[in-house]
């Protein structure tokens, strides 16, 4: 499982877009796959297929980068994920 490289690649993309921070959602044994997909759709406005792909990334690789942008925006995204019971973190892109 090469999650580190995945995250770095995501980070590199984010840097290229000049977004200094990222929101990462982590896998846990409690959250239902259908629920995580639905939260990704409704909060991040992702199409169902994209939301499902991100959910699979979380489930199979342990984590997925869901958004990137300024720190304040990432704090809002992480807070929203926590309100839904998902474990999310923020960090500087590329870290």
């Amino acid at each position: 499982m090469d999650t580190q490289r995945d995250v770095e690649r995501e980070g590199a993309v984010a840097t290229a877009l000049d977004d200094p921070w990222v929101t990462i959602v982590w896998n846990d044994p409690v959250n239902l796959m259908s629920y995580v997909t639905h939260v990704f759709q409704s909060y991040f406005g992702l199409a169902r297929a994209v939301a499902e792909q991100r959910m699979r990334e979380v489930h199979e690789h342990g984590r997925s980068v869901l958004s990137s942008g300024p720190r304040e925006k990432m704090e809002a995204d992480v807070q929203a994920m926590h309100s839904y019971g998902l474990w999310a973190t923020l960090q500087r892109s590329g870290e």
């Binding site: 409690v30 259908s34 629920y35 807070q79 019971g85 960090q91």
Partner: protein
């Protein structure tokens, strides 16, 4: 118990009196963990924002750093937002802790109200969740399941799988007179069965939301 299904645009589940009581209690317990006042008899209106005479009380959160919860179950509800950067994690907690606790408590409270009132619009056993509250209800059910999972020590996906096997074995041992069966930890089995029931209930609620969103897409 019957899972949620669509009925007149609402999500409606069926819980008998005992099931309602069990779910209402665990919902109130989780709210207590979050620092809310006890949900209980005689509760009418939400208490005013503060009973304190201290006019600066609401400012305190902005001054003090809020410490990470020591109870792992609460930490799961309000997790560390930056495990490798203490400063960012503390700042995030300072900014969001109060609002997150309030949001979670409000959603739990809503379930408690719905399950505690004699009837909320449907039949005697109906638990009616309006479509626009389905996601908030599913989020509150997640919080309850996170607390139960923490108490049950479910850390990995394998732990969650093993719980199913454990509950099946326990049910088998309790059913039979098999003297060689392993001793059963009744509290753990009870928590495990509650966890499974809420998982199933939440799954049906999410299914309702998915179907509802597919209908609006067409």
């Amino acid at each position: 118990m019957k899972g949620f299904r669509s009925q007149g645009g609402d999500a409606v589940a069926e819980l008998d009196d005992e099931e309602r009581l069990v779910v209402a209690r665990i919902v109130a317990d989780v709210a207590l963990l979050l620092g809310a006042d006890a949900f209980g008899e005689g509760y009418d209106e939400p208490a005013p924002a503060s009973d304190s005479d201290d006019p600066f009380e609401y400012l305190r959160g902005f001054e003090d750093s809020i410490r990470e919860p020591s109870d792992p179950a609460i930490l799961r509800l309000l997790p560390n937002a930056a495990p490798t950067d203490r400063e960012i994690a503390d700042e995030f907690r300072r900014l969001t802790d109060g609002e997150l606790r309030a949001t979670k408590t409000r959603r739990l409270r809503r379930i408690w109200d719905q399950l505690s009132s004699g009837s909320n619009g449907g039949g005697a056993d109906d638990w009616v969740v309006p479509a626009d509250e389905a996601l908030a209800t599913a989020a509150a059910l997640t919080d309850v399941r996170l607390v139960l999972a923490s108490r049950l020590g479910l850390v990995t996906d394998d732990d969650a799988e093993r719980l199913h096997v454990e509950i099946d074995l326990a049910a088998h041992a309790l059913d039979g007179d098999d003297e060689t069966a392993l001793p059963v930890d009744h509290e753990r089995v009870w928590l495990g069965m509650l966890y499974q029931a809420l998982t199933w209930l939440q799954e049906s609620l999410v299914e309702f939301m998915v179907e509802a969103s597919e209908e609006t897409d067409v």
